[in-house]
């Protein structure tokens, strides 16, 4: 600790250069924190998907749809607790540039399948009593300033009504809290029975069945049983756990893990050279000063330690600032809306600390070694 003033002074010998290097490291670690935070966030979202929920879609293509007639047969499979379904309605509010992802469903069963969604029982009852009723998430109600009792005209480019119109009027009959599933979870549900009656085509078809099962350990077996029910029929099914489906959908977006790691790797690699160059330049400029320290009795090891400590101080201080800023960004409302109440994972902070340590060692060691090897007589003579 008594050498701190010496290390600190050495670090700030060229103030501007140190500030710029520090800013580079801060930005790199900010990027690291955000990207790895995103990555971990997605992974956590995927792993939060229950294995006790099954997604059943058409085997040929997820968008082909399945007959509503499958519903009772799926319900009859032993171990299945509740079954609901989703049909993608599309939807926009007032103009096509304001999308409103909506699904037609059986609301009562849907809330039995998604146990973590919170809704008042009277809203579910109101939904059953109101043919053109909709249930919306609290976040949508808040964002659009809608309330129970409002009538909402929703346009769709997919489903025209029997009367030829493509704008559907819905009455909001209740709200629910879906925050447990993050912001990506659908938050607008209409009655499938009304939708099926009123639409001009596509009768008796749904896009997915959603089934919750009693024992997650039986997921594979039950999935096989369900698919076996419809094998060789005109509408074969593909049954997957929710997490398997989420992983598959994420893979369609691209390998986020790979992208995040590739970007962070490239940034850190560049940073390594930048920091090493700064440290090397700093040591080169201080050759005579380091020789003076050795003259005064600082051993080779102590001089190596001083230079290495400078690199460690520079990298760790900047990394802490970068990670702190990324943690703050992660806790901001837009990020909360995306991932739900999901703090910056500790594993990312630990990885950041490890990266900072590695960066300071790799970038600090060559100049520190050079300082260690310095010959006093030659250095003082300017050779």
């Amino acid at each position: 600790m008594k050498y701190f003033s010496l290390i600190w002074a050495g670090l700030w010998r060229k103030r501007t250069r140190t500030v710029f290097t520090m800013l580079s490291i801060i930005v790199a670690f900010l990027l690291f924190g955000l990207l790895q935070g995103f990555n971990q966030g997605f992974n956590t979202l995927v792993s939060n998907q229950d294995v006790d929920r099954l997604y059943i879609s058409a085997k040929s293509n997820m968008t082909d749809g399945l007959p509503i007639a499958h519903l009772n047969r799926i319900r009859s499979v032993p171990g299945v607790r509740a079954v609901s379904h989703w049909t993608y309605f599309g939807g926009f509010y007032q103009n096509a540039k304001d999308p409103l992802p909506a699904f037609a469903t059986d609301a009562e069963q849907l809330f039995a399948v998604y146990k973590e969604m919170k809704i008042k029982p009277e809203y579910v009852q109101a939904m059953q009593k109101t043919r053109n009723g909709v249930l919306i998430s609290e976040s949508i109600a808040k964002a659009r300033k809608w309330k129970v009792g409002d009538r909402i005209p929703v346009g769709t480019s997919i489903w025209t009504k029997k009367d030829g119109g493509s704008t559907w009027d819905f009455d909001i009959v209740g709200t629910f809290d879906a925050s447990a599933y993050g912001a990506g979870f659908p938050g607008f549900y209409l009655n499938y029975s009304y939708f099926d009656e009123a639409s001009a085509f596509g009768h008796g078809v749904i896009h997915y069945y959603l089934a919750s099962i009693e024992d997650p350990h039986q997921a594979t077996q039950i999935s096989k049983q369900i698919d076996a029910l419809f094998e060789n029929s005109g509408s074969e099914t593909l049954t997957q756990t929710e997490s398997a489906l989420a992983q598959m959908q994420l893979k369609q977006l691209g390998d986020i893990n790979f992208i995040a790691n590739a970007i962070v790797g490239a940034v850190m690699f560049t940073l390594l050279f930048l920091t090493a160059n700064t440290m090397m330049q700093s040591v080169r400029e201080r050759t005579s000063e380091l020789a003076v320290l050795k003259t005064l009795g600082f051993s080779d090891g102590k001089v190596l330690g001083l230079v290495l400590s400078e690199a460690l101080l520079l990298c760790s201080f900047a990394a802490v600032v970068g990670l702190a800023v990324s943690t703050t960004v992660f806790a901001s409302p837009p990020m909360k809306a995306l991932f739900g109440n999901f703090p910056m994972p500790n594993v990312v902070l630990a990885m950041g600390a490890g990266m900072a340590l590695l960066l300071s060692l790799v970038s600090g060691l060559p100049p520190a070694w050079r300082a260690r090897q310095l010959n006093i007589v030659d250095a003082l003579a300017g050779r």
Binding site: K2, Y3, S5, L6, A9, G10, W12, R13, S288, E289, V292, L293, K294, T295, L296, G297, F298, S299, D300, G301, K302, I376, V377, L380
Partner: protein, 231 residues
């Protein structure tokens, strides 16, 4: 008086590229405790090499270098560094203060290698700076001080750990006449009142007049000696 430093048949050669350059050709020298020795000679005569050997900054090619009966030519690099911290105070021509540190922080540097507490270090630094007449410049950085003042700070740094020997390499070489005289008076006072043994390399005959003994080197050999009576 006993010899505090003794050099016996010391030879030193360097490699300049592929060429071997003989700098010292068997130098024998004794320096008594409390002596103020001036080493003079033309450029390339080997006087700085002798100084470096005495200060443990360099090792002889052959021969013996002993300080207080300890063979420093036998010490490893690490042991030599520890030995320098305890025994040598170095004063350079260009002061060689650390530019980012204040005067007091510069003077404190050698004490960082001791077991002294922070308070003890501060006390010693204060005393050393007062001794060189810079008690009111403790918070100034080197670029805020004149050449003479910077050399005083360097002297304070050299004496703060109470070394056996003060080694000075052209201490007035970068100073005007008045500052040079002040520095030489200060060194002479340290020699006479504090009993510091001083070995000084200089080109300047006026600076050499402050020493109690004057040795001349030429082509790596001692050629002449003059001893002055202490006033």
């Amino acid at each position: 008086m006993t010899a505090i430093v003794s050099l016996r048949n010391v030879k030193k050669s360097y490699l300049r590229g592929k060429q071997k350059v003989e700098v010292l050709h068997g130098v024998d020298l004794d320096i008594e405790s409390g002596e103020f020795l001036a080493l003079m000679g033309p450029s390339g005569s080997g006087k700085t090499t002798v100084l470096n050997l005495i200060a443990g900054l360099d090792q002889p090619t052959s021969g013996e270098v002993a300080v207080r009966d300890q063979r420093i030519d036998k010490l490893s690099r690490g042991a030599l560094a520890n030995w320098r911290a305890r025994n040598i105070g170095f004063i350079f021509q260009f002061y060689n203060l650390l530019p980012v540190l204040t005067a007091e922080a510069n003077v404190e540097v050698p004490l960082l290698l001791t077991d002294l507490s922070r308070a003890q270090r501060k006390e010693r630094v204060k005393t050393a700076l007062q001794l060189v007449g810079l008690g009111d410049r403790v918070k100034h950085k080197p670029n805020e001080l004149s050449g003479g003042q910077q050399q005083r700070v360097a002297i304070a740094r050299a004496i703060v750990a109470d070394p056996t020997l003060l080694v000075c390499d052209e201490p007035t070489g970068d100073l005007d006449r008045q500052s040079a005289e002040e520095i030489m008076n200060l060194l002479q006072a340290l020699n006479r009142t504090q009993g510091k043994t001083i070995v000084m390399v200089t080109h300047d005959p006026k600076a050499a007049e402050y020493a109690s003994r004057e040795l001349h080197l030429d082509k790596g050999q001692l050629t002449a000696e003059a001893v002055r009576s202490v006033a």
